[in-house]
């Protein structure tokens, strides 16, 4: 058996020359550096928000923000955050009251009733729905859903909490549906069989066995949905207006925390003014809130995983 001459020598020489070895040392460091960008980003966000929020709170006493009057540009400005929190919560509630029932029932349908073919067709369509930019939903809410709702509810204002809430809910359906479906799918088939063998209908299997067994995953999907709803910006910026009134009337315009940030950064606040710093205070609150929600979702799905 002949051998190509020189291969061993070339390889040996290459080992002795130190090429490659440098790369071997440098690359892990480069990758670590890249990986730390994500941490730096988080720190950056936290720092940005805290830094400027601090400037805000050094001028506005903390207790002043627990007021229902929000008039950042008025001659006597007021920075009560309650209207924003109220608006955020109400719109998120509307959204979740659309997304949870529809998302959960779709998930049950896909996981327990649908044939493999139907599942394979519907899931990608859900993905498409989830991939539509939120600005498109915003346009849809304002130019289609609101006028439609106005016909049903004459007292509805052109900018209101209801329409963006509903559309936001529609936007969140795929998220809830697909995560809940994953949770239900991961319930072992043996439980399904056990229940069916007792003469249960599919409905009973789903409601009494599968949903309870996949509960943590389902709840985690709700929590993520809420976090999405709270953080959603463009739909509310377009369709819910920017009324800073403290109201529970969903036919009226409300402002969410995100919409406040958008309204103010899109020009209203020159840097260095109190209104400008108020953005960061609101941003900080929003950041902390969504962070907690995300951690909660992770905790729930980790904590209660693998029960069976």
């Amino acid at each position: 058996m002949e051998k190509v001459t020189g291969v061993r020598e070339i390889i040996k020489n290459n080992f002795n020359s130190n090429k490659g070895r440098l790369m071997e040392k440098v690359m892990p460091k480069a990758f670590l550096l890249a990986a730390s960008i994500s941490i730096i980003t988080t720190i950056g966000i936290a720092f940005t928000l805290v830094f400027d929020a601090y400037k805000f709170f050094s001028k506005v006493p903390f207790k002043d923000i627990f007021s229902t009057r929000l008039a950042p540009l008025a001659s006597t400005p007021a920075f009560g955050i309650l209207p924003l929190i109220n608006g955020t919560i109400i719109i998120a509630l509307i959204a979740m009251s659309v997304a949870i029932p529809v998302g959960l029932t779709s998930a049950i349908y896909l996981s327990e009733y649908a044939s493999e073919n139907i599942r394979r067709t519907l899931k990608p369509i859900m993905e498409v729905l989830a991939g539509i930019p939120t600005i498109v939903y915003g346009f849809f809410a304002y130019s289609f859903v609101t006028p439609l709702l106005m016909k049903a509810i004459p007292s509805l204002e052109a900018k209101n909490a209801l329409s963006p809430g509903i559309v936001m809910g529609i936007m969140i359906i795929p998220l809830v549906a697909s995560l809940s479906e994953d949770a239900m799918n991961s319930v072992p088939n043996s439980l399904r069989e056990g229940a069916l063998a007792l003469g249960s209908t599919k409905l009973e299997v789903a409601l009494k066995v599968i949903v309870p067994a996949g509960f943590s995953g389902i709840i985690a999907s709700f929590v993520l949905g809420i976090s999405r709803a709270v953080g959603e910006t463009m739909i509310v910026a377009i369709a819910s207006g920017s009324s800073k009134n403290f109201t529970f009337d969903i036919t009226k315009s409300m402002q969410t925390m995100t919409a406040y940030i958008v309204e103010f950064t899109s020009g209203d606040a020159g840097s260095g003014t109190l209104g400008y710093y108020s953005l960061y205070a609101v941003g900080l609150l929003l950041f902390i809130f969504t962070l907690l929600m995300n951690l909660l979702a992770q905790y729930i799905s980790k904590r209660y995983r693998e029960e069976y």
Partner: protein, 258 residues
């Protein structure tokens, strides 16, 4: 092919049963009667269609989308494949215990009363009564009576399997199908279950799939031997084990293959 005593009533009458998974035929022209209050053991090498067969008896096999069947299975004279026979009703009458214990991730109590609740019983004391009776019948009551509200996953494998049996008994089935109910259990737990089966036989008709020749011999009245989807030989267990008529049965029983 079958060899029944005259005084026993036939509960399942299987006529020309064929079953396909897609294009693969898993059951081939089965004809067989199962008698009331018998323990019928289904034996045969792996892949011969034992599980498929008993899952057909309560139509659980239909959960696999590719399955097609032909032929008839008469349950108390009614064809279980006929439109008027609702699958939920069949499964209520024909209970099933699986190879791996599959309790629900709920409390022991909730597991046992699941079926009763599903069937519309809401009365608390009635449910409690059902739970106790079923757990007693499954010989589990004494071991769990103090922790009915703890999670079923805290039980040992053998206890879980008896819980699954109790869960079945709670809805008063007439037949119990068991697919290798002891294969995941240790010998002691296995012995308990076997004892239980012998006891349950007084009240229920039992069809059991088993890999263990010894188990079949120990507990069953009738034995059916399957091979490659066909029913090769069936009849009184003693007869089958002592004087099998078919060469293949003999080979299998004596451990020459499988």
């Amino acid at each position: 092919m079958t060899n029944k005593l005259i005084d026993k009533r036939t509960i399942f009458k299987i006529k020309d049963l064929n079953l396909w998974y897609g294009n693969d035929q898993a059951l081939k022209g089965l004809n067989y009667d199962i008698n009331e209050h018998d323990v019928t053991a289904i034996i045969g090498p792996s892949g011969c269609g034992k599980s498929t067969f008993i899952k057909t008896l309560n139509r659980m096999v239909e959960l696999i989308p590719s399955v097609r069947t032909s032929g008839e299975i008469l349950y108390n004279e009614t064809n279980i494949f006929s439109k008027s026979f609702r699958v939920e009703e069949l499964r209520t009458k024909v209970g099933m215990v699986f190879q791996k214990p599959n309790p629900f991730p709920k409390s022991i109590y909730e597991n046992v009363v699941y079926g009763a609740k599903v069937h519309g019983i809401k009365n608390k004391s009635q449910l409690m009564e059902i739970a106790e009776t079923s757990l007693r019948s499954a010989a589990l009551w004494d071991e769990v009576k103090d922790r009915l509200n703890s999670n079923a996953y805290g039980l040992s494998g053998g206890q879980q399997q008896r819980l699954c049996i109790a869960r079945c008994l709670a809805i008063q089935p007439e037949v119990l199908l068991m697919d290798e109910p002891t294969s995941a259990l240790d010998p002691i737990a296995t012995a308990k279950i076997e004892e239980l089966i012998v006891e349950l036989k007084k009240e229920y008709t039992i069809v059991i799939v088993t890999h263990s020749m010894q188990q079949a011999a120990r507990i069953s009245d009738e034995t059916a031997f399957f091979l490659l989807g066909e029913l090769i030989e069936a009849g009184n267990t003693k007869t089958i084990f002592t004087t099998p008529r078919d060469k293949r049965t003999e080979d299998y029983i004596t451990g020459r293959f499988g």
